[in-house]
């Protein structure tokens, strides 16, 4: 049996992005011995890549904003499938969480009167996103990291958790390996917080890094927890499309917030051609009104480029399919045009969008202050995740909490831009607080050696297969899975294509049993990919099954065979759980109705 090292903590946080760090800071501030485990180095998690901003109704730029408007915007964006309790906490608490970052040293861009500046973003009625140029995530993660390291967190960098450990119905720890040496570790804890982020690597074109293999979703699922809303995967409308090696890399919505416009190859602002009824009242009639909105004119309504992401992504998709796309299969995103409207436009663009400017110059040889960019949809975010209780963030398994992208519920059928960074802060804090409480009340659980051994055996299996022994490269299997998901469960979905995908996933699961690793255990990416496959396959199956079950188009899910919304489908969330026989079970769960006060808030802010 392979040896392992055991670490004892009160709270174990898996993931060191915004959600994980915020949870760990809270748990340790409450006096709990807290461990943070992450796959990469500290400060490199996905959160570092976030660009546009963090949504909070600070009302610094427009005093008409309030938590109520933020609440209504988020519910509308999520098409009312959201967990309303989470939406309420989020809208009420985000401002305090953002201000707290300032107290910890974050330096946001400023308003003329010296307060935190806020910018426009899709689906938000008023300028609401606190930001630092287009590197808000960096500011956030660095602030949390620097605050956290002085608080005595035990950080385990470059270690990957492969399974959760249970004592009866309760989660009491986790087992994982360190990437550097390939040795195994067990963390024993009174409570575990999952903050592992998303699943983007299940698709070919994505803005997500290698880390996003759905580990947390799959760990929770294997431990018996429920996942919710897995059919809702956000395709961000603007990813890079050229050159091929950068395909999918994100182009922040901030470009459109600053006045950038979308055009097809004929130069037409096609977004004006298709404005959904429920957004008509809030959308500009003319190009001029849209421009004035981006420049802070309070009497103007937002340009259609700032409609929700699902809608913009589909419009782009339609333009390209109809043959009105750019040479490399995207559409044009033009910020350079603002030269016609303001002096010093080039300087303004460089100041407001410095990393976009740099990214295009360096990677695509293109100067965005002079030329339009070519963009197209990219897999970006998963709304679905571990089903949690709205106040505590505890999953359906006692002792297991989830926060951030890995948790489901806040965003419903579609997430508004900027609502993720605020999600991390609000629910990271809540998860940390309640995990600490749970750990203090319940103490440590018992470790079951057999669970540890079987997790370790499964992780080492790829070395037994060997390429000669009929084993297969994990990269090939992963690549085939990404292609299937991209082609059949992507931005436009159809019943029979998804059935084909499901069948394909089944075959890939068989192949994955023979995924082989060659070489050593030390820092071996091939081995790590072989281990990740199982998680990717679980989330791919969950996404596909839920997408098939929801026979309607709503939010991020667009079904060509059911292009409209259905009344029946508006009444349930889909919940996935592992059945006793190990197969994936699917259930319709009624959406909890809004309490009267909140229903009124939605109505007032329609």
């Amino acid at each position: 049996m392979d040896p392992f090292t055991t670490h004892e903590h009160e709270v174990l946080v898996i993931g060191a992005g915004g959600a994980g760090l915020r949870a760990a800071i809270e748990a340790s501030a409450l006096g709990c011995r807290t461990a943070v485990v992450c796959k990469s180095l500290l400060g490199k998690a996905h959160t570092v890549m976030a660009e546009g901003g963090v949504a909070a109704a600070l009302s610094n730029v427009d005093d008409r904003d309030s938590w109520k408007v933020h609440f209504a915007d988020t519910m509308r964006g999520g098409q009312y499938l959201n967990n309303w309790r989470m939406v309420e906490h989020h809208a009420r608490e985000a401002p305090a969480r953002v201000r707290e970052l300032e107290a910890w040293g974050a330096v946001f861009d400023r308003t003329p009167d010296g307060r935190i500046l806020q910018r426009n973003f899709g689906g938000h009625r008023y300028p609401r996103l606190a930001h630092v140029g287009d590197r808000t995530g960096l500011e956030m993660i660095r602030t949390l990291q620097d605050h956290g390291v002085h608080q005595g967190l035990d950080v385990f960098m470059e270690m990957t958790v492969i399974d959760l450990l249970r004592d009866g119905d309760r989660v009491v720890g986790a087992v994982g390996y360190d990437r550097e040496r390939g040795r195994f570790h067990v963390w024993r804890a009174g409570a575990v917080v999952l903050a592992t982020g998303g699943i983007g690597r299940a698709f070919r074109i994505t803005s997500n890094s290698w880390e996003y293999t759905g580990d947390g979703h799959a760990l929770a699922y294997r431990a018996g927890a429920e996942l919710v809303d897995m059919e809702f995967v956000q395709f961000h409308p603007t990813g890079m499309v050229w050159p091929p090696s950068v395909r999918g890399i994100l182009v922040t919505e901030g470009v459109r917030g600053e006045g950038g416009v979308l055009r097809n190859k004929d130069g037409r602002r096609f977004m004006f051609d298709d404005i959904p009824d429920n957004y008509k009242a809030q959308t500009a009639d003319s190009e001029d009104e849209g421009w004035r909105y981006t420049q802070g004119d309070k009497s103007a309504r937002r340009p259609p480029e700032l409609l929700t992401r699902d809608h913009v992504a589909r419009c782009i998709n339609r333009e390209v399919k109809a043959g009105r796309g750019t040479p490399h299969g995207g559409v044009y995103l033009d910020i350079a045009w603002i030269k016609a409207r303001i002096p010093d436009a080039e300087e303004h663009i460089r100041k407001k969008l410095p990393s976009m400017h740099h990214q295009f110059l360096q990677l695509a040889n293109l100067d965005i202050t002079r030329e339009p960019m070519e963009v197209g949809p990219t897999t970006h975010y998963v709304m679905g995740g571990v089903r949690v209780e709205g106040d505590t963030q505890m999953s359906t398994v006692p002792g297991l909490f989830a926060a951030g992208e890995v948790a489901g519920g806040l965003h419903g059928a579609n997430r508004l831009g900027g609502n993720s960074l605020s999600d991390l802060l609000v629910f990271g804090k809540r998860a940390g607080e309640h995990a600490a409480k749970f750990a203090r009340e319940r103490g440590a659980g018992a470790l079951d050696r057999a669970q540890v051994d079987s997790a370790i055996d499964a992780a080492l299996a790829p070395f037994d297969h060997g390429i000669e022994g009929g084993g297969e490269s994990p990269y090939a299997i992963q690549s085939d899975l990404q292609q299937i998901m991209q082609d059949y469960v992507g931005i436009v979905r159809l019943e029979d294509e998804m059935a084909r995908a499901l069948h394909g996933i089944g075959l890939l699961a068989k192949r994955a049993e023979h995924a082989a690793a060659v070489g050593h255990r030390e820092y071996n990416p091939g081995w790590h990919s072989a281990i990740d496959l199982r998680n990717l396959l679980t989330v791919a199956e969950a996404v596909t099954r839920c997408a098939m079950e929801r026979k309607e188009s709503r939010g991020a899910q667009f079904r060509e065979d059911y292009p409209g919304k259905s009344e029946e489908c508006s009444k349930f969330n889909l919940v996935v759980r592992r059945g006793a026989d190990g197969s994936m079970g699917l259930e319709r769960r009624p959406v909890a109705p809004l309490p009267e006060e909140l229903a009124a808030v939605v109505k007032e802010n329609a």
Binding site: S40, L41, G43, K44, A45, V48, M49, R99, E102, A103, W104, G105, V107, D109, R110, G114, R115, I116, V132, G133, R135, G137, L138, E139, R142, D146, H147, V149, H150, V155, M157, E180, S209, W210, E211, W242, P243, P244, S245, V246, I249, L250, S355, H358, Q359, Q362, L363, S473, P474, Y475, A517, V518, G519, H520, E522, Y523, N524, P525, G526, W527
Partner: protein, 254 residues
Amino acid sequence: MPATTFRIWRGDPTSAQFKEYTTDISEGMVVLDAVHQIQAENAPDLACRWNCKAGKCGSCSAEINGRPRLMCMTRMDELPPGETVTIEPMRAFPHVRDLVTDVSWNFGVKERIKRFRPRKPDAPDGTWRMQQTDVDRVQEFRKCIECFLCQDVCHVLRDHHKHEEFVGPRYLVHLAALEMHPLDTEERVREIRRAHGIGYCNITKCCTKVCPEHITITDNAIIPLKERVVDEFYDPLTRLLRVFKPRRGASKDG
């Protein structure tokens, strides 16, 4: 660009050498893409770090043809055409395997630097007021992605191994960001001179040249910090005044 040959440092501290790989290069590829392609085609166990592929996370630092750079932001078509590309790990840090080095020393340094301590809030609602012009400089420093390329190139660390005595350019930038933060009230000048060893820097500017975020490390961060140290330690008047009048955070940036 057709097939290109790469010399990549392979192995661990006990035994390592360059190995050659040839792979096809297509339009727009960066060095990191080539490394991934080699991984998928020939060397599944080739170790390297990366996350964002867009110059935002600072994971993929390496020495490309002898220059410290981010692999994800180095385009193949800016390297000399037809020539072999050499990729090595950062040499100033202990080797782990292939292109991966042990950079944990850096994380330890940060723990030794006193954290941010803000002045009392300016407004009754617990918030502060800062003008954009007062935070521009600090924001420049806070662009740092902790790639540690500047640490890799600084001769004080690389050649003279003064890791005990000198925090390196990355952490002088960090200190500058704290010291010039309009809200900060902490006292760090003594440590900057002693424990953090600013005197070791002899302003060669090598760090500034490699910084992928184009932070003007030497001119904007290190030299002003050096001036502060000089003012504080060698100017009797400043010292005297400090006894009577504790510095106000807001006037720190002078």
